[in-house]
Amino acid sequence: MLACTELSFSYDNKKTFNFPSFSCEKGETLLILGNSGVGKTTLLHLLALLLTPNSGSIKIKGKELAMLTAKEASQMRANHLGIVYQKPHFVSSLNVIDNLLLANYLADQKESKTQAQKLAQNLGISELLDKKTSLLSGGEQQRVSIARALMNNPDVILADEPTSNLDDENCEKVIQLLENQSKNIGAALVIVTHDQRLKDNFKNIITL
């Protein structure tokens, strides 16, 4: 489903990040571990097509994506990638359900309330749908971000430090939900983190 080979990237020609090759199949989970400063977020942004690599290739479903134009990348990202960011950010003036529907709207897809309600049910946030996002707890916010990442049934889900701000109990819950939901829709899940608590949960681990 997702395959990367010999990606490299540099911000200002001084320090170049070289990443190992890896792949992740449908329904599988890949954990990328690394300490601060080794380029975890950079790698995730490369995978999310927010940055363009100097060399190497990224393939999703066999399609080469490394050299797409900004517009193509934007469409690809909106329709085929689900991203969970480190800090759960939302459009603060909208309530939870509108934030979820926004993912449909911005990807030019039909706004599906049933999809939003189904995901909210699965993630245990049904009763929060009418609330403002700023009123939610950290764990709840992270669950809403997961729901948002899943709204367009993506092929690949990318998670950037999804658990770093959560306590052990919420961490366990969020990871479980992420894994189950990705399996449900048959997406490849890539988690980038320095959170050593996750090490024991996964088989496929790459250390940067």
Partner: protein
Amino acid sequence: MLFKISWKNILNKKLNSFLCILLMTLGIAMISLLMLLGKQLQDKFAKNISGIDLVVGAKGSPLQLILSSIYQIDNPTGNVFLDDVVAIAQNPLVKEMIPLSIGDNYQGFRIVGTNKKYFEHFKTQIASGKMFKGNLEVVLGASTAKNANLKVGDTFASSHGLDSEGEKHEEINYKVVGILDYNNSVVDNLILTSLNSVWNIHEHKDENHEDEAGDSTVKREITSAIIKFRSPMGMMTMPRNINQNSKLQAAVPAIEVNRLFELLGIGIEGLQFLAAVIMLISGISVFVSLYNSLKERKYEMALMLSMGASRTRLFLMLLLEGIILSLLGFISGIALSRIGIYLISNALSKKFHFDVSQFNLQTGELYLFVGALLVGILAAALPSIGIYRINISKTLATE
């Protein structure tokens, strides 16, 4: 959805939005009010002087003579002898002379002694009753009849002077014999009677002074007279002649009204400038509000960009916020100016019997609409250009 986000953003910053709308409202309301008032005053003033070439009366301020004789809003300059005016009217250049005798009122409505030519001049129509003929018979303007609650057959005692508190001529009552149709001119607020009636009222009062009472040779006095010329030649020679060679004063309404509007115009222009400045400040407040919120919402914007939104779409969304704010300001501004004109009209008609109510949308207000929209768009566009400079990856990684 785009509209929903814009709208929710506006609701989210209630105080900021309120300030923007308030400033826009004030600016729009002021300009629109001034436009409405200016236009209507000009209309009213122009309508009432049409066809009147000259007014002659006692010496004094020419503007005062015009205001008191034509518009019935200032005090008269004094009385003149009828014979002197008739002598002027003998000039072959004069087509028509309409004498006016002002001095009494009923509940603040002026009683004007004149003749039938006055009615012809204003093209009035009798709505009910008949024209005055005999002594102490009066015809009422439409507004007078309505506001003083008088109908045909009623009688009333007039008060001396132009103030409703003046001393009453209680011995003699006027009798209403007719009511005029609504004429949309100064006539609507008058009580009209013959010159003889006015003279009679005052003679009766003077009976107490025995030495004057029996004097039949006493010269008749009037307040002023409206003069129409046969040809423009009259305008060239007569006013100067009268002013230099007689005890009378001649005033040309067109000149005096123009002078009045020049004076008023400075005030109106100054206020309109002030209102435009308020509108501009409203624009600046939209600008500052959006600029600040864009700094706060930079991550939000980057997030929406990463979710597939195009930069142009987000730019339009922010523009929409400015447009909604200025539109709301425009609508409430127009509403406010209508409330204002209603109150002013009420006050004016109480004080001067002058009606300026006019609630239709003016063409000038369409320009105002475009102006408000431009201010909103411009004020929103300047800070929103920042959308095109956001580095998505950097913003998402650092904030």
